[in-house]
Amino acid sequence: MKNKSLLHRFVDWVNGDVADDRPGNIRTVGSLPEAKPPKEKPEHTDPLRHLNRQIAAYRVSAVLVCVSLMLALTYTVLCLPTYNDPSAPTNNEVSQRYVEQGMEETGAVNTVAGMILDYRAFDTFGESTVLFTATAAVLFITLSKHTKEWTERGPFADSSKDPILQVVGKILLPMIFVYGIYVVLNGHLSPGGGFSGGAVLGGGLILASSMFGQKKMVRVLSANVTTGLSVACLLAYAAMKGYSFFTGANHVGWEIPKGTPGDILSSGFILPLNICVGIIVACTMFSFYSLFSQVEEE
């Protein structure tokens, strides 16, 4: 035990099999020398007293933290400018420019889409990267060496022959998919966009997965496929936005006309960017569901 290096002992400690020989350690009580008689026990007459004191301190500190947080947040809210105040710092020339020249500059009829996918496109890129990182982390945690692929038993697997689910799903599924694709494709013309439409599509994929069972879904969308789609869309987003960035936001060579209401092929880069974001979001939702619902094999 003592010959072990510090690294080995650390590895053992991480793995949970700690057997260090500190006196008083419960695991090594049996190996203690006989010289320690049990008459030292009266020092710890009531082992629960210490614990109770800790629980009381925990409760008091929890209340203190909550109250101080509440006071700080209330003070912050009180310091905010009043609602609809024309002299508020948010009503500056930036939002004015977005509202007045947003359609002319970005080409998007939907000003929100113009903001998040043209003026603030790198923010959206960061959000998509966050989603991808979350998927990767869940993949690392849940996809152990025992479960190479998503297993076939979903959470509703025993009810996948449920007539209610089948009938309602058959009616709802086409509508959900059409609506999601519509929201993604018309992101620059109507309310919605990549994130909303992608979430709708992800919900539809989850419904399909619980309807048909995951065994059938894996053939179409396995973990490799969704990860590959996400990576491809992220790279496409980065390439398009990087191109736009390095050409001075002029979209040189990308001659899609700007901002014709009712025309899907308009407003420059926003349509392909919306499609990329939608695919990333849908893949993330679906892979979260599939990874969480896979049954661990023992």
């Binding site: 959470p155 979430a199 992800g202 919900g203 989850i206 969480f292 619902s293």
Partner: protein, 85 residues
Amino acid sequence: MIYFEFLLLIFLIFCAVGTVFTRNLLSSIIVFMAFSAIMSVIWLLLESPDLAITEAAVGAGVDTILFLVTLKRIHALKGTEKDEK
């Protein structure tokens, strides 16, 4: 219309309190889903339909499914308990 908004806001507060104080985890999740559905209608009334779509899809749909999957995973749903041994 303003009365309808007040009604929705009162429902919203009821749902928020109910989510916290419901003992049964499954009921708590379903009340939380109702919270999201009401919230999406409120977003629509506040003239931000894109947020309403997202709230309905993520808050009421995917979140609920993920919570249910988690409950199933930790064997807290009825009929999915692990055997005693």
